[in-house]
Subunit: 210 residues, 2 copies
Amino acid sequence: MDQYPPTERTQVVRRSQRGVYDKPQVHAILDEGFVCHVGFVMNGRPFVIPTAYARSGEQIYIHGSPASRLMKGKEVDVCLTVTLLDGLVLARSSFHTSINYRSVVVLGKARLVTDLEEKRQALRCFTNHVISGRWEQTKQPIDSELKATSVLALPLAEVSAKIRTGPPIDDEEDYALPVWGGVVPVLQSFGEPLPDDRVLEGITPPAVIR
Amino acid sequence: MDQYPPTERTQVVRRSQRGVYDKPQVHAILDEGFVCHVGFVMNGRPFVIPTAYARSGEQIYIHGSPASRLMKGKEVDVCLTVTLLDGLVLARSSFHTSINYRSVVVLGKARLVTDLEEKRQALRCFTNHVISGRWEQTKQPIDSELKATSVLALPLAEVSAKIRTGPPIDDEEDYALPVWGGVVPVLQSFGEPLPDDRVLEGITPPAVIR
């Protein structure tokens, strides 16, 4: 099976029927998101920071994470979570109001990427994650820029996804209530590209917007 | 000043010009999001879970958080983060590729809400946070449902926001490159409400979709 083996920490306990360990489904969620939330522990307390990321095979690169400030060449425990919002679930009773979503949680030790070639590949992943093929259209980083960029690498090993889809689940007797029940889809879309005021004449925005 | 006083933990260090402590701006970000990411520490390791939330004045209620499983009537250290994605920032150099976003980080000790009346008010906040006025249209929870719901309360005391807006910032010499630079807005919208197959005849979806 092409699955991440559940561990004690990734086994979905609450509403376990929503747990997903299938690699293609996990990859699809990670590839669709733009921002991840990285959790780490500092002085015994939790911190959660939003940052850019990109998947490269069975590894995730995390961009310029403040977690890297903690690191002195060693590894650090992190939890990386990506959540996509799909819909507002309106039940007939407030108690069953819910949200349709797809989320992935990745646990593990992140390592600081120090090799310049690997950093270059990570930046390529970040750039092409934002817009496919963008790396090839832009000026690529020089070594001093690579050195100035913090990158963490996190293996996709201890991973779970959780997905809620479909209509509200009301108590049977509540379906008789004169209250509308259903889902309001939440959609993400892209607006018209806004050029800055330094774009050269004749240069148009990239055709591929993911 | 109507601001959250920065502390050692909330002072924005990296790109400090993006730090915001203004209460109305923090409230607006919290009120616009649907899902927060809650970080907590279990056995010394970080966990980050997406969940529903709602602001009530200077307090945030967190819905059914798995963090509540850790609690035995006491308080627990959490970090709650809400991030809104506003745009893809396409610079002429890969190094300056970025994202426009608004995020809020709240640090503090969450307390388990046990009083049924406060729980009822928290559920009212959750429901009306999803769709304004929805609580008043739906069947309200009975005591056994309130008892079955976990709610945490977190004060808005140690809080910071971080905001990036505007065009890419390229190096001066790179503006001469024949590469498009600007912002692709990311928009969140709502689709046509999808009724489930039990909606009674003549019942239409709520007029107010936030």
